[in-house]
């Protein structure tokens, strides 16, 4: 299978403590999260992550023949208006397939799977898989407390990869825990923690991971790192017992420092892991969103050491922090607006 030639992330510098967003309404949230500045959004974050990824991959952008972008926070309900911007920035011709996968926390995983399938079918040689997230949430909701902003880009291909995909496995059923209706403009949660985490998160990640492990004939302990979707700090611990995984194998938490990064959650976490991973190590990754999970097995190559100098690491972005007040937060998220006249 194809692999990652290079990757890059971007996290905005602004932070708010999650409980600050809840104080007017309730007060159980913990940790902090990243917030887009006034002139940032899903496109601008992805632009920097993409620049970092291409620099890390050390490829000529002209080699890219596919752009798959995945997000659950596209500003557009109609129009794949995001991926073409990157084709323009990179000076790519109209023949390049530019697609927006939107509307799901699995969107980035789907975009990646689409790219891997296209490479396998020999329809594409080198693809740019871009993930970016900045979900619109409403005041007083659980999503508003935890939803963070960030982007991650992977250059996918077969040559000079730093890590390869061994296999992927999808497990999905009709199950609703989070949604945003077109009429609403904000993310809603059913939010019954026991029901959603057990029958949603745990069941699907377990199902996807088990199927994956069968495909590659490996057990839980064979994976150096385990990167699960991080809607919060606790949830990744739920599936590990049944999968034979120890807590120490889990990737460090980003949910309580950067927030819930939606479709980018597992892949930003993966970038943090790859920043430190060594050749020969094996990584289990599984995303989750409303009834769907995509699990994949990734093995790390020798080339990772060769290219490591060119990375802009996740911890650099995580360390740049400017705290903002709740009022600034409301303005940045356009939850309060100046009257037009």
């Amino acid at each position: 299978m194809a692999g990652i030639i290079g990757y890059g992330v971007y996290i905005p510098r602004y932070r708010i403590e999650q409980k600050e967003t809840q104080i007017p309404w309730s007060s159980w949230a913990g940790g902090e999260k990243a917030v887009c500045g006034a002139d940032e959004d899903v496109v601008t974050m992805a632009a920097e992550a993409t620049e970092n990824a291409i620099k890390h991959a050390a490829i000529d952008p002209a080699q890219i023949d596919t752009i798959y972008l995945g997000t659950a926070s596209s500003p557009y309900i109609e129009g794949h208006l995001l991926s073409p911007i990157f084709a323009e920035i990179l000076g790519l011709p109209p023949e390049v397939r530019a697609v927006d996968y939107s509307g799901s926390l699995n969107a980035l995983a789907m975009a990646l799977l689409g790219c891997l399938d296209a490479i396998e079918a020999k329809n594409t040689k080198c693809g740019l898989v871009i993930g970016t997230e900045n979900r619109m949430t409403a005041p007083g909701t659980e999503s508003d407390a935890s939803s963070g902003a960030g982007a991650v880009t992977m250059v996918i291909g077969t040559e000079d990869t730093i890590a390869d995909f061994e296999a992927v496995h999808t497990y999905s059923t009709l199950f609703i825990d989070r949604w945003e209706a077109a009429q609403d403009g904000w993310v809603s949660n059913y939010f019954d923690y026991r029901f959603d985490r057990e029958y949603g998160y745990k069941k699907h990640i377990t199902g996807a991971s088990k199927g994956l492990m069968q495909k590659v004939d490996k057990k839980g302990q064979d994976f150096t790192y385990v990167v699960f979707q991080q809607p919060d700090d606790r949830s990744p611990n739920l599936p590990i017992k049944e999968l034979g995984i120890q807590a120490e194998q889990l990737a460090p938490s980003i949910a309580s420092t950067l927030g819930d990064l939606g479709s980018c959650s597992a892949f930003v976490s993966l970038a943090g892991v790859l920043d430190k991973a060594k050749p020969g190590e094996r990584i289990l990754l599984a995303t989750y969103g409303s009834g769907g999970s995509n699990a994949m097995s990734i093995t790390v190559n020798k080339a990772i050491d060769k290219k490591r100098k060119r990375i802009v690491p996740l911890e650099k972005y995580a360390a740049q922090k400017d705290y903002i007040t709740y009022v600034s937060y409301l303005k940045l998220r356009e939850m309060i607006k100046r009257a037009p006249y």
Binding site: D39, T44, A47, I85, E88, I89
Partner: protein, 135 residues
């Protein structure tokens, strides 16, 4: 902005290459570098011009801190003129800076893609500058 062409207008579409790809022009007679692309050098009138890809890095030539921006924009905004690496100058806004004390003439800056404005639900993107952190 009421009355201004919408982001879907040909004005923006024509400027895509110049703004996103940073394609400008260089005069082979007088050496003037500028943007957007044109066939006649505005400095010397020569027709001996070619396309030129602008650098994304430069140094601050001059700046100001605008506390009376156009309607719809929150103050302050920081317009700057940048001496681009390799030649030419670029005019834009400095982002992530709010006071005149934070920027000096000669500071190194790099371009970052940012959302410049929103009109009729469509976002307009362009390059702003960010101070480069010295390693």
């Amino acid at each position: 902005m009421p009355g201004a062409p919408a982001p879907a207008s040909p004005v923006y579409w024509r400027l895509n290459t110049g703004v996103y790809r940073l394609i400008g022009m260089k005069c082979n007679d007088c050496g003037h570098i500028s943007y957007p692309v044109k066939k006649i050098c505005s400095e010397c009138g020569s027709l001996n011009v070619e396309e030129y890809k602008l650098s994304k890095r430069g140094t601050v030539h001059t700046y100001c801190v605008q506390w009376a921006p156009p309607p719809g924009f929150e103050a302050p905004i920081v317009p700057i003129i940048v001496d681009m690496d390799g030649g030419g100058r670029y005019q834009g806004l400095l982002t992530e800076v709010a006071s005149p004390e934070a920027v000096k003439i000669g500071d190194k800056v790099e371009m970052v893609l940012r959302k410049v404005m929103t009109d009729r639900g469509l976002n307009v993107y362009g390059y702003k500058f960010r101070l480069v952190e010295e390693e």
